[in-house]
């Protein structure tokens, strides 16, 4: 059984700062300038907005902007929850209406958590979105490389594993203290998923393959001496 968290996506360079600012400022106003704005982070809300005007053009390009607005955890507090989330959703809708933008998707379409059982061949599968890097203030200009948290149960306590999967070709890998907590380069490489075109589905999703290796059932002498897979 595996439980997965996928925690954040910062979108891309086209994040509509004005919308974010508007949302923030209105949220602040709605709360009488409450200092809680500082702790607005704390839970992921995943939003996709798109202008109602499908295409725009200038001299060189003909384009349609789609915006992904994401709040990701900055401090370790649970703030975007309950009534705050409900009010924030209202505000997002209001702001989008004002800008004649259409909300294509809004939380809870992306919760960021999945769980599945492996089949008899040990195969698991998740369909999700690729997370983005996010800043985490551990050191100056600190960014976590895109990653997905994995929590794995096996047949015994020895096979219990909590780890993180990374994506290939990410320049942030070498800068990340968490990934580099694994001392061996070979072992770090094993945390990186491989792109697999056979897993990729046309017009739908890129495919990655990531194998996890946990202790075998005979890993320690304790295993056979105490059934039930305890220590």
């Amino acid at each position: 059984m595996a439980a997965v968290e996928l925690m954040a996506n910062q979108g891309d360079a086209s994040v509509p700062t004005d919308n974010v600012m508007r949302v923030c400022s209105q949220w602040l106003q709605a709360n009488q300038g409450d200092a809680r704005l500082l702790t607005i982070y704390g839970f992921v809300l995943y939003t996709v907005c798109m202008s109602k005007i499908a295409y725009k053009s200038n001299r060189n390009v003909y384009y349609s902007c789609k915006y992904h607005v994401v709040w990701c955890p900055k401090y370790r507090r649970k703030v975007l929850m309950g009534e705050v989330v409900e009010r924030l959703k209202q505000i997002i809708h209001e702001v989008c209406q004002e800008h004649e933008a259409e909300v294509l998707a809004l939380d809870p379409n992306f919760l960021g958590i999945g769980r599945c059982l492996t089949n008899e061949d040990g195969v698991y599968r998740f369909l999700t979105i690729r997370p983005g890097a996010y800043p985490w203030k551990n050191h100056p200009n600190a960014w976590r490389p895109a990653h997905i948290h994995f929590s794995v149960f096996g047949p015994s306590m020895l096979t219990r594993l909590v780890t993180q999967m990374y994506f290939p070709d990410d320049p942030l890998h070498q800068l990340d203290p968490i990934m580099n907590a694994v001392p061996s380069e070979q072992a770090r490489k094993r945390l990186i998923a491989l792109y697999d075109h056979d897993v990729t589905e046309a017009e739908w999703a890129l495919g990655y393959r990531w194998n996890l290796v946990v202790h075998g059932p005979d890993a320690t002498p304790f295993e056979s001496s105490e059934p039930g897979g305890t220590k």
Binding site: V44, H149, S151, Q164, V213, T220, P227, G228
Partner: protein, 193 residues
């Protein structure tokens, strides 16, 4: 070197709460109305090396039923299964570092063909900053068979007390107190498996 080298552990950081401690994923109460055995409540705190509570740790437990059998396919022992007892629990910690479980006191589990183990509960603790989770065992301070438990006797004598849960009767509820100290002078004895 194995052909299939193990996947390394990585911290889950502060994300237990949204990921693994949602209402449908945590399990503080292990008992059902039909569960056999003595009801107990386990309470404790997870503390760091400075004695400061760890507010975002995750504690998982795994234990045998009151007859001393694990609800697991590899336990083919003669003791009966209890269909209303799985034996797995998961709790987060509060701002004060506290966790709790409502469960039953497990029976004695065989160690090898001859010896029995004292009743115990296996603990796994996950916490931000731990590169790998740590594993330990809770033993019951009032259990006479502790002195013959082969695993407890492996632990250096001066550290055995860190594995003994303190019994207290609160009203009609039997509470066992079991603090887990991750580091420092009173560090809980952890098992390296």
């Amino acid at each position: 070197m194995s052909i299939f080298p193990l996947t390394s552990s990585q911290t889950v950081g502060p994300f237990f709460e949204p990921g693994l401690l949602r209402e449908d994923a945590r399990r503080n109460v292990l008992i059902q109305p039909g569960t056999a055995g003595e009801r107990i409540r386990i309470e404790g705190r997870v503390l760091d090396g400075d004695g400061v509570p760890v507010p975002d740790a995750m504690v998982e437990i795994w234990q045998a039923n009151s007859h001393g059998r694990y609800n697991h396919p590899t336990d083919q022992g003669p003791a009966p299964l209890d269909p209303s007892f799985l034996g797995f629990g998961r709790s987060g910690t509060t701002e004060e570092g506290s966790y709790w479980f409502e469960t039953i006191k497990p029976g004695s589990v065989p160690f090898d063909g001859e010896r029995l183990q004292a009743p115990h509960i296996c603990f796994t603790v996950f916490s931000r900053g731990l590169l790998n989770h740590v594993m330990t065992r809770l033993y019951f301070e009032d259990e006479p068979s502790n002195t013959s438990d082969p695993v407890l006797q492996c632990v250096p004598e001066e550290r055995r007390a860190t594995l003994l849960a303190r019994r207290e009767l609160v009203g009609a509820v039997v509470v066992y107190h079991f603090d887990i100290v991750l580091q420092g002078t009173n560090e809980t004895a952890f098992f390296n498996l």
